[in-house]
């Protein structure tokens, strides 16, 4: 009996987190189709934890507590993301959760956090359906994907108004068959609906995530003779589709793959020549880091990793920072108190617009403007929209199209 008690005591001692540290659980797609992006998010998380701990940890009610990240690989699979969240909460006894990357994974994982009543802050789910479920414990830092395509359309509209694009412009909208893709399409449709007569959607097609052949789909686009090619794709699909696009000799006055386009890996896989003038609308850009906390983040990242951050690392860093701020403002590790502080959070941010909050009316999904960037022949991707952040006016129509 005595030895049994000792065993229970040992097990209990292992399960409960030490009083001087806060254990925060997270999963990321470190392997599988989203592994590259998962690695970028890890860099952002690691940087935020290192920075917090260099200052002695988080200030929780006057007591400094180290923040420890317990990170697991969800292999880019929805079921694994959900089951690992369950493990983190019930077996590893983490106190808070940071989210994974990609809307469909966040959608599944956030259910587990909600059922367990644990604050879940994510920077990887931008689809608005995730936030329409009335979840109390879910907080999202990715602004809605509808706004992403909306920002693209605003820049395109500025070019049309300047007489650089035909009026009406004929549009092809190609979207991956996910919540992310549907929001992208909705953003384009909403914009076109508000600007009747300026745009005509000639092709409106969805495609399978991680598709292998887009020949038939691109053939349809070719046949429609559109001016604007607006697709929403994840990185592997962007590479496969753009490779076929180039070999089919397609060229459009404006071309975009949603949030993808400026990735170094894509330029390496496709050749600089084949990614010229592609537009991408993203949640953050290092060119915003000219002053204040954004500059601090960019400098910190460069010192740690020896290169400039992309939006993935920035959003991940800010996601962890938002949770830290919620904990510090609550002055407690009590889940309900931290949740209340996160819901009421109003802080300076590295995100575009400079402010971060989780408005109740958007289901606690942060709302802020997107930045539109465009690949240039020299390999750079300057911001072209919004005007106040733009480093270049952008190029339209694509001068390479004959």
């Amino acid at each position: 009996m005595r030895s049994l008690n000792l065993l229970f005591a040992l097990l209990f001692a292992q399960a409960a987190p030490a009083a001087d540290k806060i254990v925060i659980g997270a999963t990321l797609p470190l392997t599988g189709s989203e592994s590259r992006i998962g690695g970028f998010y890890k860099e952002g998380y690691d940087l935020a934890f290192e920075e917090a701990n260099k200052k002695g940890g988080l200030d929780v009610g006057g007591k400094k507590m180290r923040a420890e990240l317990l990170l697991l690989d969800d292999t880019s699979a929805q079921a694994t993301a959900a089951s690992l969240a369950d493990r983190l909460i019930n077996s590893d006894k983490v106190q808070f959760l940071l989210g994974t990357y990609s809307s469909h994974l966040v959608e599944a994982q956030s259910v587990v956090a909600e059922q367990s009543g644990i604050p879940y802050v994510n920077g990887g789910g931008g689809a608005i359906d995730i936030y329409k479920r009335g979840f109390k414990w879910l907080f999202g830092l990715l602004a809605p994907v509808q706004n992403l395509s909306g920002a693209l359309m605003e820049w395109i509209d500025s070019q049309e108004k300047a007489g650089k694009l035909p009026k009406p412009s004929r549009v092809a909208v190609l979207w991956e068959n996910t919540a992310h893709g549907k929001d992208f399409r909705q953003g384009v449709q909403d914009f076109v609906g508000k600007h009747r007569g300026d745009y005509l959607i000639e092709v409106d097609e969805s495609f399978e995530l991680n598709g292998k052949d887009f020949g038939a789909l691109l053939g349809k686009v070719k046949n429609a003779r559109v001016d604007l090619f607006l697709a929403d794709a994840h990185l592997p699909d962007y590479i496969t589709m753009q490779r076929q696009y180039a070999t089919m000799g397609l060229c459009h006055k404006v071309q975009s793959y949603g949030a993808r386009g400026s990735e170094k890996q894509a330029a390496e896989a496709l050749g600089k020549e084949n990614v010229k003038y592609i537009l991408s609308s993203v949640w953050w850009n290092a060119q915003l880091g000219k002053a204040g906390i954004t500059k601090h983040f960019v400098d910190l990242f460069k010192a740690r990793y020896g290169r400039a951050p992309e939006w993935y690392q920035a959003v991940a860093y800010e996601t962890a920072r938002a949770l830290f701020l919620g904990i510090e403002q609550a002055g407690s590790l009590d889940h309900e108190k931290v949740r209340e502080k996160l819901a009421a959070l109003q802080v300076e941010s590295i995100l575009p617009g400079g402010k971060l909050s989780f408005p109740a009316q958007s289901g606690q999904q942060a709302i802020y403007p997107f930045v539109v960037q465009q690949n240039q022949p020299d390999g750079s991707s300057p911001i072209v929209w919004p005007k106040e952040s733009a480093a270049s006016p952008g190029v339209a129509p694509n001068p390479d199209c004959k």
């Binding site: 470190l30 590259r36 020949g215 038939a216 789909l217 070719k222 590479i239 496969t240 089919m248």
Partner: protein
Amino acid sequence: MIEHLLDLTVSAFLLAGLYATMAYGLGLIYGVLRVVNLNHGGMIMAGAYAAWWAHDQFGLDPYLSIPIILVLAFLVGVLTYAGLVRRLPRGAAGGVQSLLLLFGVWLILRNAAYLVFSGNDQTVLTSYSTKALPFLGAQISVNRLAVFGVALVTLGALHLFLTRTYVGKAIRAVAQNPESCTLAGVPVQRIYMLTFGLGTALASLAGALATGLYAFNPGFGATELLKSFVVVVLGGLGSVAGTAVAALILALVENFSILVIPSYLTSAVGFVLLVLVLVLRPGGLFGQRVLG
């Protein structure tokens, strides 16, 4: 519209080349050994990594690395047969065991690739990756054309091998009646081993060819295995020419279905076709033929 239909037809023919190359090995092994080689997907992935590695390390063009990859994959197949598959009971009795065993080998291969190469997507960029040739107003990708050419050459070579050589004839005989072959002095075990090696080499060939078309990671091969399965069943198990024709039918149906259904459903069309064939013509469109 005619131009669009022509585009779809050309695209389907080129896609069929890859589908056929993916399926030859699976069909060959099943036709002779009656073993569904679930490690086929793993070998497609291994072939892709081998071509990528040779290009990345030595700048070797993926098409030039094919002979080396074929030899290595053949040896892997021979060793897999000698070390594992040979111990399984033949025919229906060994069905479940062979599925589990070869699925296990695939998992090991996949996890080894994660360990060695990480989960990052890899691509091969060559000087002709995005080059195209004009054909009746359409642009045909040089890479896809090359894959189609390799598929035709493979079909021809397999046909000649199976019909004109002693070993090929022995393979067909063993596929038909292994017991009688044993009585006639045909070394059945050796024929099985050679066939498994050949099928494995063909899987790696498909992987090497795919590097010019897609980004891939260690998870690569799963969709390709399913497509191969559809093609093999559609063509009739054990029929090489049937496999080629089935690949063309699948590619045509997938491509032309975009005219009537959303693009994201086109890959499901193949599986609907598979169910229809299994229900209406279980022996495949070209019957249960002997190889060749």
